[in-house]
Symmetry: C2
Subunit: 260 residues, 2 copies
């Protein structure tokens, strides 16, 4: 791939694992191949924070690194707070060309898109008039190997940025399987499936019971070959385009009938 | 309206303003007209928590009230944690007939549905095989008058429970305007519009700068008469049916072309 660096291109990078996560450094590495980078990640891990915003707490910004073409900050809020603060305060009225959220340590496919802080930030990023890519690797470990995630992230971002047609509010949920050999990239729909949780009870030193949330995912359509879960299970990178209209149009006739 | 109480009907109530919010008591009051109630709300206000789940903190349960047909608890997590814990731990394998989330102090119409803890909980509730209703009043104040919200919530819930046809994963985003005279109920789609934020800077006693998030909403289609924002601005209760497939199907051809 020929270099796509453009000094006039500005890229915002964030994540939900926090500014110290190796996946954040990997995302910055990808972003720098395309342009100047402002990277603002949560000060602490924010996995599972969805599209949450912080209303009841003050928010603190810290600068961690600055060199020509790269600034790295942490912000004490959620991933969505990071995006809002970057666009609406730090870069007010500056044109941004791309948002990258990730690289997440762990999958954000299927229903996880609803709970994911990485995807919450990616969705928020798409509200600011530039393409937004959430990038996740199916490996939760701290020292995960991001080589493939960087490679495919780079290819997908290059395709989006060099496309003649630019779609409004384009937001991509990209997941990369952790397999020896990736077979390619598939455009997919979000798989139907849900989590059922186990709450593990423990007792603290003062005798109070508490619980840890943990759970198992059930795939409701394991045979369907057009889903992100199928693509990932079969060695492909999954790309699901995301929209934010939650209206269930198919229920409208029913409601108009029963609410008469 | 004739009584619809059924002692064999079980209703789960939650919210995002916390167990002490008057809107939670109002939702419990509505629920008790239909059946037995298990009410589990966050221990602290959780507005703006979206579909967030708690991964890094232990979760504590407290019982606040118990009488035949009514139990009230607080749980130290997010609204979605409350729903998951209620279904997957407290009521494991018990059939639940309805979830009510609210009554929220403030609007959850339009894009707010993505940020709202009330709607996060309502969406989560619909994953458990029963109808789920998020109910919000367009009045943020603590001592808001919930009379109309209770009345219309009751009517809509009665219609859903007495309907012969039961829809899979039915989830309703119901918003009630705070006006002198409500004109009726309208089934709507989610309005297009977005928030732009102002981050107010302050300085703490140690000289550290911090920020508070606050913002303004822009309606991108104020003329469209089929949206929730239009209904509310014109004195109607808005009912938006909610779905959870975020796939942007209209972007799939484009992506298949550029990612070739």
């Amino acid at each position: 791939m020929k270099t796509m660096y453009d000094k006039d291109r500005l890229i915002v990078v964030t994540n939900d694992d926090g500014y110290e996560a190796p996946g954040f450094a990997a995302a910055i590495e990808v972003a720098r191949e395309f342009g100047r980078v402002v990277a603002v990640a949560p000060a602490t891990p924010q996995s599972g924070r969805s599209q949450a915003i912080t209303i009841y707490d003050p928010l603190f910004l810290r600068k961690h690194h600055s060199e020509p073409g790269l600034e790295i900050y942490s912000f004490s809020g959620t991933p969505v707070d990071c995006v809002k603060f970057t666009f609406d305060h730090m870069l007010k009225d500056v044109k941004v060309d791309l948002v990258i959220s990730g690289i997440n340590h762990g999958s954000n496919s299927t229903i996880n898109v609803l709970y994911s802080g990485t995807m919450g930030a990616a969705i928020e990023g798409s509200f600011y008039g530039c393409p937004s890519v959430g990038l996740s690797l199916l490996d939760h470990s701290h020292d995960a190997d991001f080589t493939d995630a960087k490679r495919y992230g780079r290819e997908i971002i290059a395709s989006v940025l060099s496309s003649e047609e630019q779609r409004e509010q384009l937001c991509l949920n990209v997941n990369v399987p952790a397999v020896a050999e990736i077979k390619g990239v598939r455009v997919c729909r979000q798989c139907r499936g849900l989590w059922r949780e186990d709450f593990f009870p423990h007792v603290d030193p003062n005798g109070r019971q508490y619980f840890w949330l943990t759970g198992d995912y059930t795939n409701y359509e394991p045979q369907a070959e057009d889903t992100d879960e199928w693509a990932l299970a079969n060695g492909y990178v999954s790309v699901v385009p995301i929209q934010i209209d939650l209206t269930s149009y198919r229920d409208m006739d029913y409601l108009n009938k029963i609410l008469k």
